[in-house]
């Protein structure tokens, strides 16, 4: 280890006196960590929230509902108010100049703008 790295104590030491079981014993090297933890979706599924009375608040219960207000439409490129939609690329635009720009964008830029809005075409 280089001197300045050691001095800055960047690296986590392998042994701590206050731990009963050290990290390297608990998680032996080589074992893939991907199997060891559950993702949030799996956690929620395992909870079986539907078995409990719906009155009680739980992680899923308190999620907010979809919005009642009318959807705000803003231009994907400039951020201004955008009343128009380009049927070919499905991007919103504010005026003709922006439209010209949209039509000359390469395809991957189009997809990236759409993915800002979570509206990109996802091929699985």
């Amino acid at each position: 280890m280089e001197a300045e790295v050691v001095e800055a104590e960047l690296v986590l030491p392998a042994y701590f006196s206050f731990k009963r079981i050290q990290s390297h014993e608990k998680y032996p090297k080589g074992q893939s960590s991907a199997r060891r933890f559950k993702h949030l979706k799996q956690i929620i599924q395992a909870e079986n929230f539907q078995n409990y009375p719906p009155d009680e608040p739980n992680y899923v219960n308190i999620e907010s509902p979809p919005s009642m207000h009318p959807c705000k439409r803003i231009c994907d490129i400039t951020g201004y108010e955008a009343p128009y939609l380009d049927p070919r690329t499905k991007l919103r635009y504010a005026n003709t100049e922006v439209f010209k720009i949209i039509r000359s964008l390469p395809n991957d830029h189009v997809q990236r703008y759409l993915s800002l809005r979570n509206a990109a075409v996802v091929l699985k």
């Binding site: 206050f18 992680y59 308190i62 907010s64 009642m68 201004y80 100049e97 720009i101 964008l105």
Partner: protein, 720 residues
């Protein structure tokens, strides 16, 4: 940078008695740990872990928190991005959590003691799933040997702390936009009512992500400069919440002066190209002298060569002349035999060789070119003599002579072709010269008319070019997302035809494709690479360029029409002129208030949930309280806390938003927490230092005896 991590190792761990609780605010953005009863956490760092490989030794090490990037250059960080233990706001990766806790406790000074002998108060999210809670408890009990643990919600601690400060009342609403989520929790009698709480999955992380992507799309050639940390800094410094998004956007759209003031520009580091100092006088003189000497030497060598060549040629010429004179004396029939020795076939050949030699000699002696043209012609006519067999009809020749004849025809056509090309070139030159001269005369005699004509021509040409461009881009997108799209020109149609015939022809019978070598040429025709993007420089475009340059010369008031000249939405990369300072500036205009807007309209990002202002209404509705008066009490004390609440303009916007959903005249007071970032920890610290804190914790025994069900129902009582 507003958030600075403190990671110095504390030395007074052993001074604290075992009863003093350790308070941990385990947030998705930062991890804060300290002693109960103090005002500030001792150790603060970003809640991420990296596992890079050390370049020299190759071992994988763990680095917790954010560190000086200069030190990280010793590690190979390509495969290890920073990883967080959180998914949304729930802890799910406990290995990473363990590293973080290791680091935290270590920096608190615990290294050296046998176990963490203090009760721990740790924060969690609202309605944390039991799995996460139990795993956390297990980690603390088993690995660290903590005697007792308590879980609390960070927003609630913040509210209680501010209640103690007198900012909010016992009943109220806590709005907490955090790093990955935003919560609204109603408080009744000082206790949070989770039944009425509400969570939207939008937070500061999404704002930063949106800003980063927008900037990357707007300035693709500076993409590497927009790292996540840098963009977060930009967000903290420059973003604000507009009181009314539409009005603000209109300000910018109309380009008013206020919009100009609100636009911020970020100048990226840029070094102007060094202006080369002209070499000094001495240098120039010295170089000139050297060159002169070299020139002299070369000239001498050339002279010597030339004189030797002249000598040779003269000798040759003399020999040929002698031969000619001899030929004159000899009879016709004897010529072939006579010339056998010398290697020439006929008298004409000798004559032509002689002429050539004479010309070469003259060239070597430096005579004017005019004579050469005449001589060239003579040579041409003499070369014609070399093809005697062409004019003889076929049937009179032997097979050998036929071959000879074919060769001569070929040679003749090539030489003729060359001559024709030369002629054409000369003619074109003359033509151009003439045109230019005419132009000049026209201009001199009637400048205005000329200018007008030129302008008209320019307009027509630009129209045509633009139309073609439009066709091209329209054609490019006919098939939606199919790569570059198919262009409907002749080449494309031809290719489609080839493809279909090649694909469908081979159905019946044997497939004999490939037997002939010419079949593979099909692929060359089909290949897309052959299709140029721009069909070269169209004649129209070339003409346009010429006219533009002419106009620029002639007319001082002419300004070329800019095509697609919008500087704001998309910046064109200047490829052909030297890069200026402006090219390295990043302009933040609309993005400043567009990105935080997603807190109020998550639909802008595609998340189908309510925004902050509506969330308050949802929360009140969920409480299902009967009286209007009760609701008024709630809205009279609304507290905003959490990292993302530092954005300027948040209080006004929220107040306006909540007023929209409440009946007219309802009292609304919105307060920002005294320190939105640290208040949660401070609240937890003051809570833990209270006398009855111990009754709210649970020990290891409790955990094992009572089991998971009890853990699920475990809730902290906040008023003690």
């Amino acid at each position: 940078m507003p958030f600075i991590s403190q990671t110095r190792r504390q030395s007074d761990y052993n001074l604290f008695p075992s009863a003093t609780p350790i308070v941990i605010d385990n947030g998705a953005s930062y991890f804060r740990i300290g002693w109960a009863g103090e005002n500030d956490p001792r150790v603060v760092f970003r809640n991420i872990v990296q596992r890079p490989r050390h370049k020299a030794t190759g071992e994988t090490v763990t680095v917790v928190g954010d560190h000086d990037p200069a030190l990280l250059k010793y590690f190979d960080c390509t495969r290890s991005g920073p990883r967080s233990a959180f998914d949304s706001n729930v802890v799910y990766q406990f290995e990473i959590m363990e590293y973080i806790l290791d680091f935290g406790f270590d920096r608190m000074g615990a290294n050296g003691s046998q176990q963490i002998d203090h009760p721990v108060l740790i924060t969690e999210c609202v309605c944390n799933p039991v799995y996460s809670r139990s795993k956390m408890a297990e980690l603390l009990f088993e690995t660290y040997g903590v005697p007792s643990v308590a879980f609390g919600v960070d927003a609630a601690f913040s509210y209680k702390y501010n209640q103690q400060l007198g900012i909010c009342a016992r009943d109220g609403l806590a709005i907490c936009p955090g790093f990955t989520t935003a919560h609204v929790i109603p408080f009744v009698d000082g206790e949070p009512i989770y039944k009425g709480s509400c969570r939207t999955n939008i937070g500061g992380y999404h704002i930063t992500d949106q800003l980063k992507q927008l900037l990357s799309l707007k300035y693709p050639h500076h993409m590497t400069k927009f790292t996540w940390e840098k963009v977060e800094d930009l967000k903290m410094e420059h973003c604000y919440i507009a009181p009314d998004y539409a009005a603000e956007a209109r300000l910018f759209q109309n380009g008013t002066k206020e919009a100009e003031e609100k636009t911020r520009t970020w100048q990226l580091p840029w070094v102007p190209p060094a202006v080369e100092e002209g070499p000094s006088e001495e240098e120039l003189a010295r170089k000139a002298a050297i060159r002169e000497r070299q020139g002299q030497r070369l000239r001498e060598m050339a002279e010597a060569k030339r004189s030797s060549r002249i000598n040779e040629l003269e000798n040759e010429l003399q020999g040929l002349e002698f031969l000619l004179r001899q030929l004159e004396r000899v009879e016709e029939e004897d010529i072939p035999s006579f010339l056998e020795e010398t290697g020439y076939v006929s008298k004409q050949e000798v004559e032509s060789a002689h002429a050539k030699a004479a010309q070469a000699l003259r060239k070597a002696k430096g005579e004017p070119k005019g004579e050469q043209v005449g001589i060239e012609e003579k040579i041409d006519s003499s070369t014609n003599e070399k093809f005697p067999l062409i004019n003889v009809p076929d049937d009179m020749l032997t097979p050998e002579q036929l071959k000879e004849k074919r060769r001569q025809i070929f040679l003749k056509t090539t030489t003729e072709g060359r001559q024709r090309a030369k002629q054409k070139r000369i003619e074109e030159e003359l033509e151009r010269e003439r045109k230019n001269q005419e132009d000049e005369e026209q201009r001199l005699e009637n400048p205005e008319l000329y200018l007008e004509q030129l302008n008209i021509r320019y307009r027509e040409l630009s129209e045509k070019v633009e139309q073609r461009k439009r066709l091209k881009t329209n054609g490019n997108h006919t098939n939606g997302g199919m790569g570059r799209g198919e262009r409907l020109n002749a080449a494309q149609k031809e290719r489609m035809r080839l493809l279909t015939t090649a694909a469908f022809d081979r159905g019946k019978g044997e497939d004999t494709f490939g037997a002939n070598d010419e079949d593979w040429q099909l692929y060359k025709l089909m290949s897309k690479d052959n299709d140029d993007d721009d069909d070269g420089v169209d004649p129209d475009e070339a003409e346009l360029i010429r006219v533009t340059s002419r106009l620029q010369e002639v007319d001082p008031t002419f300004v070329p029409k800019l095509e697609l000249g919008l500087s704001q939405p998309v910046v064109e990369v200047p490829k052909f002129r030297p890069l200026t300072k402006e090219d390295f500036q990043v302009v933040l205009g609309v993005e400043r208030f567009r990105c935080p807007e997603i807190l109020f309209h998550p639909s802008l990002i595609g998340v189908d949930q309510v925004g902050l202002d509506e969330m308050a209404g949802v929360s009140i509705r969920r409480l299902s309280c009967e009286t209007q008066e009760f609701e008024d009490r709630l809205t009279k004390s609304i507290l905003i806390t959490g990292g993302s609440s530092l954005l300027p303009g948040m209080t006004e916007r929220l107040e306006a938003g909540i007023r929209m959903i409440r009946p007219c005249g309802a009292p609304i007071c919105v307060f920002r927490a005294s320190d939105p970032i640290l208040d949660a920890w401070r609240g937890a610290s003051s809570y833990a230092s209270a006398y009855q804190f111990a009754s709210q914790t649970f020990t290891r025994m409790d955990y094992y005896e009572k089991g998971e069900d009890w853990l699920r129902e475990y809730q902290l009582r906040y008023t003690i």
